[in-house]
């Protein structure tokens, strides 16, 4: 039974709709310098209990996975537990995380990724570590497979990470053997797979498919040697240089745990990551 639209749509309703619509458009047009403090204050106040709840939920999920791992090792039913692919994948990620932590030694903070429901979640992700734990602006954020992005906003308990998929992401990259240097930026889409572009490579220098690309350390923001991805093809060329397509090592949508590098590193970090990191999957 219809209640009747005429009974609902009063002038007051229309006025409220127009006002909220206008406020939304104003919010969209705010410069980053204005909108970031607003978003940050919302995360610190209204959203704080919900982010805590989400963080606890992630921790509970991780604890359950660890418990399942201990049980599986103790029990001869390891094979049965092995069929739970989700648990196995979670365990593999956690083991890789522990291995990365041991190899990095010190100067990092572990954190959970608090994924959100919207499609733009892959451009920026919220993590459960903030300035109280030493996270600073522009700190590199890594997963066991390589670079996820860098910290763009930080508050006491959480931080926002701009991933490599963010339109404003730029990084200085190099081939694993140091023979070729270029600038990395998001390429866009190919089907549902996102890629990076390695541009500015001199025309005479060839980069074979399968070459691992690492951060070069130039620019002083990202340390040298963090895997970014693997060359999968050529995007284009000019008279002077070529642009290569790079398949990123870390998919932002599926990463669950990360480490934030909290102190400046001058050493080459390549050895801290797994040897097969950044290799393209078939």
């Amino acid at each position: 039974m219809a209640l009747g639209a005429d009974r609902y749509a009063t002038r007051g309703d229309t006025f409220l709709f127009v006002v909220t619509l206008a406020l939304s458009l104003v919010a969209m047009s705010l410069p980053p310098g204005t909108r970031d403090p607003i978003a940050s204050s919302l995360r610190r106040t209204v959203l704080w209990p919900f982010l805590q709840l989400q963080s606890r939920s992630e921790q509970l999920r991780m604890s359950r996975a660890q418990f399942a791992e201990v049980e599986a090792q103790r029990d001869s039913a390891t094979l049965a537990a092995g069929e739970l692919s989700e648990v196995r994948a979670e365990n593999a990620r956690l083991r890789a995380m522990l291995g990365l932590g041991a190899r990095l030694g010190s100067g990092f903070v572990p954190a959970e990724v608090l994924h959100q429901a919207t499609a733009t979640d892959r451009f920026t992700v919220v993590i459960s570590a903030g300035s109280k734990r030493g996270v600073q602006l522009l700190a590199p954020v890594v997963a066991p497979d390589g670079l996820l992005g860098f910290v763009s906003t930080t508050e006491a308990a959480t931080s926002v990470v701009a991933t490599w998929a963010h339109p404003e992401f730029r990084a200085s990259g190099m081939a694993a053997d140091g023979s070729v240097y270029g600038i990395l930026e998001p390429h866009g889409s190919s089907g549902s797979v996102w890629l990076l572009e390695l541009s500015g490579v001199p025309y005479r220098q060839q980069v074979p498919v399968g070459t691992r690309i690492l951060t070069s350390g130039l620019g002083g923001v990202l340390p040298r040697g963090i895997p970014i991805g693997t060359v999968v093809g050529t995007a284009g060329e000019t008279e002077w240089d070529r642009t290569y397509l790079v398949r990123p090592a870390v998919p932002p949508g599926s990463v669950t745990h990360v480490m934030v590098l909290t102190s400046p590193r001058t050493d080459d970090l390549n050895g801290a990551f797994a040897p097969d990191t950044g290799k393209a999957e078939p």
Partner: protein, 165 residues
């Protein structure tokens, strides 16, 4: 609305918000998993007037924008429009049939995602096509499914009675 009914209705809304931040991450691919926060908004619009729904949509959208600053404002815009239209549509098409409500949940989710990806300006080409015609419909289906389950369980608590508004 009487006090007891308000409390029960508020409980359902709070439950959906709690599910968003506790259970959702365990429900598979985030592009497809049901959006309980949007479901809470659409449920709220069952009883609220269009103006109130627009304000609620703006608040929900702004909260979402605070968590994904890459598209700040786009979420508020999308949720405001969806909240207003949902409340208005329920005044026009109001029915106690589950499938009609499920259809509104599906349409609301798809429309929210469509406005969000278009307003954010971060998508183009084949990725935009995938978001509009693959991931958004799938999330619409899962959100509608979750909404139907919610209505089956809490129907007496959330549906509006004729003569009440």
């Amino acid at each position: 609305m009487r006090r007891g009914e308000s409390l029960r209705f508020g409980f359902v809304i709070a439950l959906l918000v709690g599910l968003q931040f506790s259970v959702r991450s365990r429900l598979g691919d985030e592009r497809v998993a049901p959006d309980f926060l949007l479901l809470a908004l659409l449920t709220y619009t069952i009883r609220a007037r269009p103006g109130q729904s627009a304000v609620a949509g703006f608040i929900v959208g702004l909260i979402g924008d605070a968590l994904t600053p890459a598209s700040f404002g786009a979420g508020a815009l999308a949720h405001t429009i969806v909240g207003y239209l949902s409340s208005w549509a329920k005044a026009v098409f109001f029915a106690e049939k589950l499938l009609v409500n499920g259809g509104l949940f599906f349409a609301g989710t798809w429309l929210r995602n469509a406005i969000l990806v278009l307003a954010s300006g971060k998508f183009s080409g084949s990725q935009l096509t995938w978001e509009l015609f693959v991931w958004s419909p799938l999330q619409g289906l899962t959100t509608a499914g979750a909404g139907i389950v919610m209505l089956v369980i809490f129907r007496q608590w959330v549906t509006v009675r004729v003569g009440e508004s």
